[in-house]
Amino acid sequence: MSDRDNIILQLIDRHSQRLLSDWLAHQRRDAKYGGTQREAETAEVARRFLDHLRAGVQLAQFDDVERPEWRPIRELLEDLSRDRAVQGFSPTETATFVFSLKEPLVALLSKELRDDPERLLRETWTTIRLIDRLGLYTIECYARTREEVIRRQQQELLELSTPVVELWEGILALPLIGTLDSARTQIVMESLLQNIVDSGAEIAIIDITGVPTVDTLVAQHLIKTISAARLMGADCILSGIRPQIAQTIVHLGLELNVVSKATMADALALALRRSGKAISERKRLAAPEP
């Protein structure tokens, strides 16, 4: 057992420089990216990877990368795949880092064990299995990082798309952008109601200029938002209804039961009139005589 473990260890010990340069050459051949700085960085990571691999091979069971002895190498791979995922590398490019170690390692093995084909086969098999595991682990990390990025973007999009604006004292505007699904309606409703409580507004203008289509579901969500605002003592005015959407609403037979205006400007004018305010043109003062 011990000498079987040690053949890889010996190889790494004796031929580490050669292994490293061969490996890097393979990576250069396989991957398309360039730039000397990146290469220096990759070389550094590769060197540390070999160190950790050596330590791991010395201590641990070969084919179980979940064992604590492999933790340094796992962490290294996590960092690497996170970096590359963020920088926009493809999964293949990321995993190539690990997989391209196969060829130089197997080449060394076959030279070493030329006289013992049976053992060569066995060692090659274990080596390939180990590297495959590490490679798969890299891809997993990569996917996880990408998923995190997507989740964060979703969250940001959600927050981004639901601002409540105070147009005037007691008049709120809610410009909706994008399709209204249940999750978004919930957030829109919550932030609108909270703003009504905070500002004491009595009129809310819901602007749907940025809503691409209004179907029965979107209308249902709009009605819910409007009723909830009404329960909090705020009247809603719907604005930004495009001609196409007006037609759709009638064709679908939707009954919104709310005052609606074509543009936000009209809605604001109505809101001001209701709250007893008016915007008037200022009389221009005559230019003073010289």
């Binding site: 919930q186 409703m189 919550e190 109601l193 909270q194 009504i196 409580v197 004491g200 009595e202 819910k224 009723s227 909830a228 605002a229 009404r230 329960l231 909090m232 003592g233 705020a234 009247d235 005052v259 109505l270 209701r274």
Partner: protein, 129 residues
């Protein structure tokens, strides 16, 4: 059994619900309130539910009933102080409380009642335009 106090502010009555409602209490409240509207010649009824964290269909129906009864006695009912979470729940339940006027707080509720009493024909028309 706790009794829900009915306070008089000018020609308005203020009811603040702060305990869990059940059938008996709701019936007693309806009795008391209709009685007081008549004896005090009240023109407005304000129901404050800012202390309620849960409003179910039962309370929703009770509010609608009180509004309908007051209307018969020529008093306008305004529900005030609903919490955002309660409003969302009611809407999800499909209870829009369409028969009831609403206001954010007691202050705005009083102003709304005053407005409706002063312009009976405009009070509702105001919303439609």
């Amino acid at each position: 059994m706790a009794e829900i106090p009915i306070l008089r502010i000018g020609d308005c009555l203020l009811v603040s619900i702060q305990v869990d409602m059940h059938d008996q209490l709701a019936l007693a409240l309806q009795d008391d309130l209709t009685q007081r509207i008549v004896t005090d010649r009240a023109r407005g009824v304000m129901i404050d539910i800012s202390a309620l964290e849960i409003v179910d269909s039962f309370i929703g129906r009770m509010l609608n009933n009180i509004a309908a009864m007051s209307k018969v006695l020529d008093a306008v009912t305004v529900v005030v102080g609903m919490r955002p979470a309660v409003a969302i729940t009611l809407v999800e339940l499909g209870l829009g409380l369409t028969g009831v006027r609403t206001a954010l707080n007691v202050d705005k509720g009083l102003a709304l009642i005053r407005r409706i009493i002063d312009n009976p024909e405009r009070g509702d028309a105001d919303r439609e335009r």
